[in-house]
Amino acid sequence: MAQQGLAVRVVVIGGSATHGGACGSYALPQSKQEQVTPGLCSWAHRFVEWLKDHHRNPNIELFNLAVPATTSAWRLSHFDDVLSVRPDLLIVDYGASYGSNFSSTVFLSDQLLSCLYVAGINDPNMGETPEQKTQ
């Protein structure tokens, strides 16, 4: 049963929640919180740890390519980063990003970027969200 599994690359893309933002918080007063390394407490890391254990395969590797304050439109213009990893499993989680950045401006931006992408215009710099541009 316990075979030496094949190397597997799990890639997750998303926003800050996927990145692990606030995952070290226990909803307790700050003094009561234990220090948790950011990212290691994210669902992505835990899930991959579970996969390793569940399949008894230590060769499962996580690439958490989530970038805070981004949407799927931004990722679309930076999708080569994802493909360059050659993922075996890609998990997409941009819902929470839209949840925190939800606005008609973001949606219009997404639609515009989508149109540009379809038209063959794929400028990575155009993928920034309005929030990023103001930073």
């Binding site: 075979q3 030496q4 599994g5 094949l6 597997v8 998303g14 800050s16 929640a17 933002g21 606030a22 995952c23 070290g24 918080s25 226990y26 909803a27 307790l28 007063p29 009561k32 919180q33 234990e34 948790v36 407490c41 669902w43 835990r46 899930f47 740890e49 579970w50 996969l51 254990d53 569940h54 399949h55 395969n57 949407t71 799927s72 439109a73 990722r75 679309l76 999708f79 493909l83 993922p87 075996d88 499993l89 890609l90 998990i91 997409v92 989680d93 819902g95 929470a96 839209y98 949840g99 925190s100 939800f102 949606f107 997404d110 639609q111 970027l113 989508s114 149109c115 992408y117 379809v118």
Partner: protein
Amino acid sequence: MCRATTELLIRRFLEATKGAAEEELPGIGSTHRFCLNPQAALLFLDVHRGMNSAQESMLSFGREVYHPVCRTYGVPVVSVRDAIWPDEAPLRPGLWDTKGGAHPLWSGHQLITDLLAFAWTLAGNQSLWGITSHLLGSHEHKPKTTMDALTLLLNGSDTIQNLPHLFQRARGNEVNRCPGGKHLSTSPSASSGLKPSRPDTKGWQYVDHKGKHGWEYSLAKRSRHDQDTESSSVFHGTTGWEYTLVNPSQQDQSLDLDSIFHSVAPVRRCLKAKAKRNTSKSRGQSLSDNVAAPPIPRLPLALRNESDRELPGIISFPGRFNADDPGLLVEYIRSYANYGQAIVFVTACGSQSYDRHVDTGNSASAAVVRPSYKELEARARVMLRLAWADHKYASVCKRSKTKDVSFKGQRINYR
């Protein structure tokens, strides 16, 4: 809305992974019908739950964007939102950051992980997800070319029915979540699928106090023989999960309850004092029975062996209650041994501050522990004792609440 970018992401992925096209769909052209191919798998996670969740447009994001697009392309969607908040129920305290944004907190991330793990296991069990055999390193890897069943399973409204009891509870069908502290018991109803395996008129019994119903335990109604022979009542869940409630007379060989109560002696003294002042025979049992021996929940015995790695899921426990006093809710967020942490919430369901965030409310206590399982269970019992005593008697005793207790030489923060 954002369907365009979502669809383009999927198409870009499919083009790059070159999955074998099974058929052509109108309007999609030669885009591959099934994206789970021998080369790669794609999974969408719908975790949408923002702080401004009252906006209908935000609530419907996953359903309007992810679900229809992914359904078209046969991409599975694991919907945390549908599993946890299918009816736009209030946020559970401690799971999501309701102040600073839409970020799940530590336990929220654990819930997401649990759901993913469950979906993954489910897919693997049904041999629908070819990549699972890939992960296993099987040389007889035969990728499946259809995802319809899984897609329906994970994407449809029937998803909840196939989820573990953890999520069924969150849905609130069989077990109250004590939202806003308005509900008293988290017990199943007498006619539901969750009922004692050995219903009896002693010990545990289903009661209805002015519309507040639930299972109540009465130590006084049990004979010594009953205590010895029926030390617990097992609730069989409709999903096959079991919940065991253990009366305080049951001594776990590895758990020294006396040492626990020794460590919380002030609370115990308070209990005794209260019991002595207000002994009541109104229901044929002394209050001291009620006070000194509130039922101690035994955490669900999902861990049959100490070598098991997964801890049980969230449990809700009504505790002792009557028409005037609410029960307690114990949330035991599971973790994994390789992560090394778990969190336990003990909440008075009827408290007015229950619906407040945990970090500001006084009704909940929580501990982050690095367990062995036995140790975690023991600590949960300690916390339940403390919370129970505090909730029921703090105002009577008029003393400062216990800040810390020691347990086997270790300090446990409380509050």
